[in-house]
C-alpha cells in the first residue's frame, strides 16, 4: 500500500526452501513488477508451486528474503499479507453458497453488509456469474467454480494474485476460454498476477514475462518471445515447443561464422555476439522445426543453409505435418510443414532439400 507508485511488486532474494535433503527451491533471485502478468513455467517438481506458496506465506523460506512492495514478509502469516491465492484444487468452501464464498474475506474484515453486497455484485459481474449467488459449489461446472475461486480472491483487491495451475482440471476448450478470460480480468483490475503452470502454451499466450524453472532453479526469465526464440539452454529449448539440437566446432566461414559438424555439414550462423575467441570451441545451436523449410528443388536465394536429405518419417498433426529428414546419412532434423502447403503431401523416402536462414539458429551460449 505504501509503495503503490513504485513499480516493484514482489522481490525474491536468494530464496531457498528444503524438505529434508531435497532442495525444492534453490536460491532464487527475482523481481516482479507491479501490474505484470508473470508466469513460473516448468515441469512438475521444479519448485514453482513452492515458490508461489512462499510468496503466499503458506511456506517459510529456509534462506533468503521475500519482499512484497518493499516490505519484508518472511515472518508474516498468510492472513497478514496483501496477497491472495487461487488454488489448484480451488478449495471452495463446500458449506457456503457462491455469495458466501466470495464474501468470506470481506466478512472476516468486518465490512458493512451494504459494502459486502455491493462489492459481491460488482465482482460477480466481472467474472460473469451474476444469478449464481445462492448456488453451492457442487452445483457449478468446473469453469464456474474456477470463476468463483477467482472472484473470492479478487474481491479483496490484493496487491498480488497468485494462481497455482488454476486451469489444470478443465478440458482443453474451456481452458482456452478461461485463459482469455483471465487475461481480460487481469487487464481490467490491473493487479499483479503470478501464475504457475507446466503448460508452455498457457504461459506463452498469457504472460508479460516468464521464468522457466528446473530442479529448483530459474533457468531463464524473459518475455514469451525472448524465451521461445532465444532459449538459453537446451532444457528451455526443449521444454518450450520442439527443437533440433546441432553441435559442432565454431569456424570462420566467408565473412561470418559457421558450425562445422562431425559429419561434415557446415551450418552458417549469425555472427551476433561472437568473437574470434570463440573460434574452434564446441558450440550448440537449437533450431525450431517450424523455422525449417522443405522443398523438392535445391533453391532459394537468401536461405543461407540448404542441405539435401531424405524423408524418413512423417506424422500427420492436422494443422501441420511433422517430417523427419535424414541429412548426410547421419543427422536427423525435425521439420514442421503447414497443412495447406503442397510439401505436406511428400511421402517417406522422398529426396528433398531443407533450408533455413542463419538468423533462426539460436546459439546456446555455454553449457
Amino acid at each position: 500500500m505504501i509503495n503503490k507508485d513504485q513499480s516493484l511488486s514482489v522481490e525474491l532474494i536468494s530464496v531457498t526452501k528444503r524438505y529434508g535433503n531435497v532442495v525444492a527451491v534453490d536460491s532464487i533471485n527475482l523481481t516482479i513488477a507491479s501490474g505484470e502478468f508473470f508466469s513460473f513455467l516448468g515441469p512438475s517438481g521444479c519448485g514453482k508451486t513452492t515458490t508461489l506458496r512462499m510468496i503466499a506465506g503458506l511456506e517459510r523460506p529456509d534462506v533468503g528474503k521475500v519482499r512484497i512492495n518493499g516490505e519484508l514478509v518472511n515472518d508474516l502469516p498468510p492472513y497478514e499479507r496483501n496477497v491472495s491465492t487461487v488454488f489448484q484444487r480451488l478449495a471452495l468452501f463446500p458449506h457456503m453458497t457462491v455469495a458466501e464464498n466470495i464474501a468470506f474475506g470481506l466478512k472476516i474484515q468486518r465490512q458493512s453488509r451494504n459494502a459486502i453486497e455491493a462489492k459481491t455484485k460488482k465482482i460477480l459481474d466481472l467474472v460473469h456469474l451474476s444469478g449464481y449467488e445462492s448456488r453451492y459449489p457442487e452445483q457449478l461446472s468446473g469453469g464456474q467454480q474456477q470463476r468463483v475461486a477467482l472472484a473470492r480472491s479478487l474481491i479483496l483487491e490484493p496487491e498480488v494474485l497468485l494462481l497455482d495451475e488454476p486451469l489444470a482440471a478443465l478440458d482443453r476448450k474451456l481452458r482456452k476460454e478461461m485463459q482469455i478470460e483471465l487475461r481480460r480480468i487481469q487487464q481490467e483490475v490491473g493487479i499483479t498476477f503470478i501464475y504457475v503452470t507446466h503448460d508452455q502454451k498457457e504461459a506463452l499466450s498469457m504472460s508479460d514475462r516468464i521464468s522457466v524453472m528446473h530442479q529448483g532453479k530459474i533457468i531463464q526469465s524473459g518475455s514469451p518471445q525472448e524465451i521461445y526464440e532465444h532459449p538459453k539452454t537446451p532444457f528451455v529449448a526443449d521444454f518450450l515447443g520442439a527443437s533440433n539440437f546441432l553441435s559442432g566446432l565454431l569456424v570462420k566461414s566467408g565473412n561470418g561464422f559457421g558450425l562445422q559438424m562431425a559429419d561434415g555439414l557446415l551450418i552458417h550462423i549469425e555472427s551476433r555476439g561472437l568473437g574470434a575467441s570463440d573460434l574452434n570451441t564446441n558450440k550448440m545451436i537449437t533450431l525450431r522445426p517450424e523455422a525449417i523449410e522443405i522443398s523438392l528443388q535445391k533453391m532459394p536465394l537468401g536461405a543461407k543453409n540448404c542441405f539435401a536429405g531424405v524423408v524418413v518419417n512423417k506424422v500427420y498433426l492436422g494443422d501441420s505435418t511433422e517430417f523427419e529428414v535424414l541429412l548426410n546419412q547421419n543427422e536427423r532434423l525435425k521439420v514442421y510443414v503447414d497443412g495447406h502447403r503442397k510439401e505436406a503431401q511428400l511421402s517417406i523416402a522422398a529426396d528433398v532439400f531443407v533450408h533455413w536462414d542463419d538468423a533462426v539458429c539460436n546459439l546456446i551460449r555455454s553449457d
Partner: protein
C-alpha cells in the same frame, strides 16, 4: 443387488433359483436371531401374568406400576444427567484429540494413539473395578461425578475414531484458503474447520450417546448410593424378580430403554438429513474430478 450378481453368473437355472430363495431366507434368519430375544421381551412386557411361562392376556399393568414408582423417574434423571454431560465433554475432548492426532506431529504420538483406544479392548469389568479403586484411593465419593468421569473415559475413544474417519475425507487445503483470505487460526477453525467436521462430530455424539446411556458394567462399579441410573435399576429389578418371580416390570423397563436408544439416534439422523447440504457428497464428486 445380490440377485443381479447371481443372474450374471454362469450357474444353472435350478441353482440360481435356490440362490434367489435362500439369500432372503438367510438374511431373515440372521435378523430373527438378533432381534427375537428383544421381541420376546417386548411382547411379554404386555403379559398380565408377569412371567415367561404362560400368557395370561394383554395388560399394561407393568408399565403402570413402573411409571407410578419413584425409582424409574429418579433413575431416568440420573441417566440423562450422566449421559448428556459425559457425551458433551467427550465429544469436545475427543474432537480436539482427533484434531491433534491428525494435524500435528508430536513426540510419542503413536504410543498415545494406541493407549487412547485401550478402553475399547480392556474388559469392562476390569475397567469398572480399576476405576472404582481409583476413586476410592483418591477419596472421591462415588455418585454422579464419578459416573460422568468414567463415562467420559470410555466414550472418548469412540468419538476420536469417528471424527478421525471424517477428517480423512476433509480437503485440508480449505484451511489454507481461509487463512489466505485473511482469517487467522481461530477464525479458520470457527468458520471452516468445525463446520466441515460437524457431520463427523454429530455422528460421534450420536454413537457415544447409547454407548454411555446403556452401559451397565462400568457404571455398576462407580455408581453411588441413591444415584442409580437406568441400567443399574434394571439389574436391581432383575434381582428383585428372582425372589418374587415377577419379571413384568423388568420387561417393561427393557422395552422402554430399547425404544429410547433406538429413537434418539433416529431422531438425530433425521435432523441431519433435513440439513440441505451434505459435504460428504461434495467431496465424493471432487475426488473423481481430480
Amino acid at each position: 443387488m445380490a440377485a443381479k450378481v447371481l443372474r450374471r453368473s454362469s450357474l444353472s437355472a435350478p441353482i440360481r433359483g435356490i440362490g434367489r430363495i435362500s439369500l432372503p431366507l438367510l438374511v431373515g434368519l440372521v435378523t430373527l436371531f438378533i432381534y427375537a430375544p428383544i421381541l420376546i421381551l417386548m411382547i411379554f412386557s404386555f403379559n398380565d401374568a408377569g412371567n415367561l411361562a404362560w400368557w395370561d392376556g394383554f395388560s399394561l399393568k407393568w408399565y403402570q406400576q413402573l411409571l407410578a414408582g419413584e425409582s424409574l423417574w429418579s433413575a431416568l434423571q440420573v441417566s440423562l444427567i450422566v449421559t448428556s454431560t459425559s457425551v458433551l465433554i467427550s465429544t469436545v475432548l475427543g474432537t480436539i484429540t482427533a484434531y491433534a492426532l491428525y494435524r500435528w506431529k508430536f513426540w510419542g504420538k503413536r504410543l498415545f494413539e494406541n493407549v487412547l483406544y485401550l478402553p475399547l479392548y480392556v474388559p469392562e469389568v476390569v475397567l469398572g473395578i480399576s476405576l472404582m479403586m481409583l476413586f476410592i484411593l483418591l477419596k472421591i465419593p462415588r455418585g454422579i461425578t464419578t459416573m460422568i468421569l468414567a463415562h467420559v473415559a470410555f466414550t472418548i475413544p469412540v468419538v476420536v475414531l469417528v471424527v478421525l474417519a471424517r477428517m480423512q475425507r476433509v480437503d485440508w487445503s480449505l484451511e489454507e484458503a481461509a487463512m489466505d483470505l485473511g482469517a487467522d487460526e481461530l477464525m479458520t477453525l470457527r468458520k471452516v474447520t468445525v463446520p466441515l467436521l460437524m457431520p463427523g462430530i454429530l455422528a460421534a455424539a450420536l454413537l457415544a450417546f447409547p454407548w454411555s446411556f446403556n452401559d451397565f458394567v462400568i457404571t455398576y462399579f462407580v455408581t453411588g448410593p441413591g444415584q442409580t441410573p437406568l441400567s443399574v435399576l434394571t439389574y436391581d429389578l432383575v434381582l428383585g424378580a428372582r425372589r418374587t418371580g415377577a419379571m413384568g416390570q423388568v420387561n417393561a423397563l427393557g422395552t422402554l430403554m430399547t425404544l429410547t436408544t433406538l429413537l434418539l439416534p433416529l431422531l438425530g439422523f433425521l435432523l441431519l438429513r433435513l440439513r440441505r447440504f451434505s459435504p460428504a457428497q461434495f467431496f465424493k464428486k471432487r475426488g473423481s474430478l481430480s
